[in-house]
């Protein structure tokens, strides 16, 4: 005999499993990380049972960490801009293809998502390495005998991350292009606008919500990316995520690693929330 549940409680029961799942697997580790970051660390005796903000003072005050944070958000910004430049035209072309070609090219665009990030990045590593494809090509073309390597460089990281993240931009922009009334472009033409003007004044502004939400996704994923910077950037070109990893596993200074992780989270939330507010203020009155 099944006990009947009051209708009012149904939503709680339905969302319960999800809430418990996230509380246990996401909430708890985050709270533990936060608590961990408030302890000090001694190289001889390990984590101390005290409460202090010393770790935060250290990370925020140290030019070494400042440089890593600066590099991370610079990288995130650059990757986002390049993804916009590549992804928006790509999505526009996709939306203009006949339905048969569109499904083929959607698969081409989204296909990489089916392959592990690590595998894709290792592919780039083979390509970028000192005796990789890039070097061989450069030598074959007569650019000298020096090996051309993009390993452990900012450029290399940027290229690999753009490759990993551009599909997210394409999907996001494509979704908002799908929502545009194709007749609004015809209306633009009939009112005397050239095709370029229609694209710039009619189509692009209507795709803006997709471009902006795609930017948020790409920015957030780049700022917290680990696998690609770890493989391409390595120890020489650290970003925040890899720096936190090193504190945990190489230096064993868990409290400092936790501090870095918490600061990354806060910075990410801060940037995304304020960006989102900006967008909402700009577009809420235009789009439903």
């Amino acid at each position: 005999m099944m006990a009947s549940i009051q209708p009012r409680k149904v939503p709680y029961f339905l969302t319960g499993p999800g809430v418990i799942f996230f509380a246990a697997l996401l909430g708890a580790p985050m709270v533990m990380t936060l608590l961990l970051s408030l302890h000090s660390y001694d190289f001889n005796t390990g984590i101390q049972p005290d409460w202090t903000l010393a770790n935060y003072v250290e990370v925020l005050g140290d030019s070494y960490f400042q440089k890593i944070f600066g590099r991370t958000f610079g990288l995130a910004l650059l990757v986002t801009v390049i993804c916009v430049l590549i992804g928006v035209p790509e999505a526009y072309v996709l939306s203009r293809l006949s339905s048969r070609w569109r499904s083929v090219f959607l698969l081409v665009v989204l296909g990489p998502l089916l392959i592990s990030v690590v595998v894709r990045t290792l592919g780039w590593a083979l390509f970028f390495g000192g005796n990789g494809v890039l070097t061989m090509t450069a030598q074959a073309l007569g650019f000298g005998d020096e090996p051309v390597s993009l390993m452990f460089t900012f450029t290399g990281m940027t290229i690999a991350l753009v490759h990993v993240l551009v599909p997210f931009m394409v999907i996001s922009v494509w979704a908002s292009l799908q929502k545009i009334d194709p007749q609004s472009e015809d209306a633009g033409l009939s009112l005397g606008a050239s095709k370029m003007t229609v694209l710039r004044r009619i189509t692009l502004p209507q795709a803006m919500p997709g471009i902006l939400s795609g930017s948020i996704i790409v920015f957030a994923l780049t700022a917290s990316a680990f696998a690609t910077p770890a493989i391409i950037g390595g120890r020489r070109m650290k970003v925040v995520a890899t720096a936190a990893y090193d504190e945990y596993l190489s230096t064993l200074n868990w409290p400092l690693g936790a501090t870095i992780a918490i600061l990354l989270l806060l910075a990410n939330i801060g940037i995304i929330v304020s960006y989102n507010k900006l967008i909402e203020r700009r577009f809420a009155k235009v789009f439903e």
Binding site: D181, D186, A187, L189, S190, P205, Q206, V286, F287, E288
Partner: protein
């Protein structure tokens, strides 16, 4: 020479013929409706005039100039789309001013003229609204103002009223027609709504599966359809099968009906068409005896379905204030001379 001429326009999509040998001459200031069921080619025709679809063959001549190959952004025609196709990221004023901006009109002047156009369609208070904050009727008016402000030689309307509710639609018909006559702009309206076409047009082009079924003024089209498709599609009608059995006599399942048979040969099958409101229904036992099978009160009139020796018929009678016939009543139908139209062949 006419203002706008279609010369044997054809449009094929693969093997499918959307428009076949369409020819039409439109006078300056005329209001023409393209009327037909969905898939009859009326929207395709409009898109060819707009330049959004190239015709497979044929020519379009506007004011003596062949515009068949002119791109849409150089035709300068005003178009109101079925979805209105307003620019959602622009205010009403910016929407209307867009066409003027493309013509290089300065900012102050185009804002002025856009507001004037919005005033003209009674949207003076809504100049700074975005489309999403407007009702369907208001959006429709913005679309109309946007099409008219550029002072186009021809205004193209693609089912502009179909997304409005019934009451608003009727008001807009009258308003649109008055505005069009006021401005004197040559207008082509695409619609599947025969009432809309009848109430607004100078002439109506009825289309059927890519062909022109008839071109006529509204009253002519209604009173003198040239084929059963038009008589059935425009207004309601009763189509009755019969055979010509003598001079001015048609046999309908044993009932003899007298009608002018001049243009038809003896013994051939014909279809009679009579509009429901042409019948006179009375208790006076003369004429065609019928039994009332259903009676529906419509306010201004009664609609009956009756059965007699000529089969099932629809009859409309004006509401005179007294009770109408009820189901099961017996009544007699008469009709004036000329109410019956004869078409060749069985339906």
């Amino acid at each position: 020479m006419s203002f706008l001429i279609f010369e044997t326009l054809n449009k094929k999509f693969g093997d499918f013929v959307a428009v076949r040998d369409m020819s039409l001459s439109v006078e300056r200031g005329e209001f023409i409706s393209l009327l037909g069921p969905s898939g009859c080619g009326k929207t395709t025709t409009l898109q060819m005039v707009a330049g959004l679809l190239p015709p497979t063959s044929g020519r379009i001549v506007l004011d003596g100039k062949d515009i068949t190959k002119t791109p849409p952004n150089q035709r300068g025609l005003g178009i109101v789309f079925q979805s209105y196709a307003l620019f959602p990221h622009m205010t009403a004023t910016d929407n209307v001013a867009f066409g003027l901006e493309m013509r290089g009109v300065g900012k102050a002047e185009r804002t002025d003229r856009a507001r004037g156009a919005l005033d003209q369609v009674k949207l003076g208070q809504f100049v700074d609204r975005y489309p999403k904050d407007m009702s369907g009727g208001q959006r429709q008016r913005v679309a109309l103002a946007r099409a008219l402000v550029i002072e186009p030689p021809v205004l193209l309307l693609d089912e502009p009223l179909s997304n409005l509710d019934a009451k608003l639609r009727e008001e807009m018909r009258i308003e649109l027609r008055l505005l069009q006559q006021d401005i004197g702009v040559t207008t082509i309206l695409v619609t599947h709504d025969q009432e809309e076409a009848l109430s607004m047009s100078d002439r109506i082009v009825v289309m059927q599966q890519g062909d022109v079924a008839q071109i006529a003024a509204p009253l002519d089209l209604y009173e003198r359809p040239t084929n059963t498709f038009v008589s059935d599609f425009v207004g309601k009608t009763n189509l009755i099968q019969g055979q010509i059995t003598g001079d001015n006599e048609v046999n309908v399942d044993g009932t003899r009906v007298s009608v002018d048979t001049l243009a038809h040969t003896h013994g051939s099958s014909v279809t009679l068409s009579i509009r429901p409101e042409k019948f006179q229904m009375s208790d006076d036992p003369s004429g065609h005896e019928v039994r009332v099978e259903a009676a529906i009160f419509l306010g201004a009139s009664w609609l009956y379905r009756v059965k007699g020796s000529m089969g099932d018929l629809f009859v409309t009678q004006p509401n005179t204030g007294s009770a109408g016939y009820a189901k099961g009543d017996v009544a007699w139908l008469g009709w004036p001379e000329g109410a019956l139209t004869l078409f060749k062949g069985a339906q």
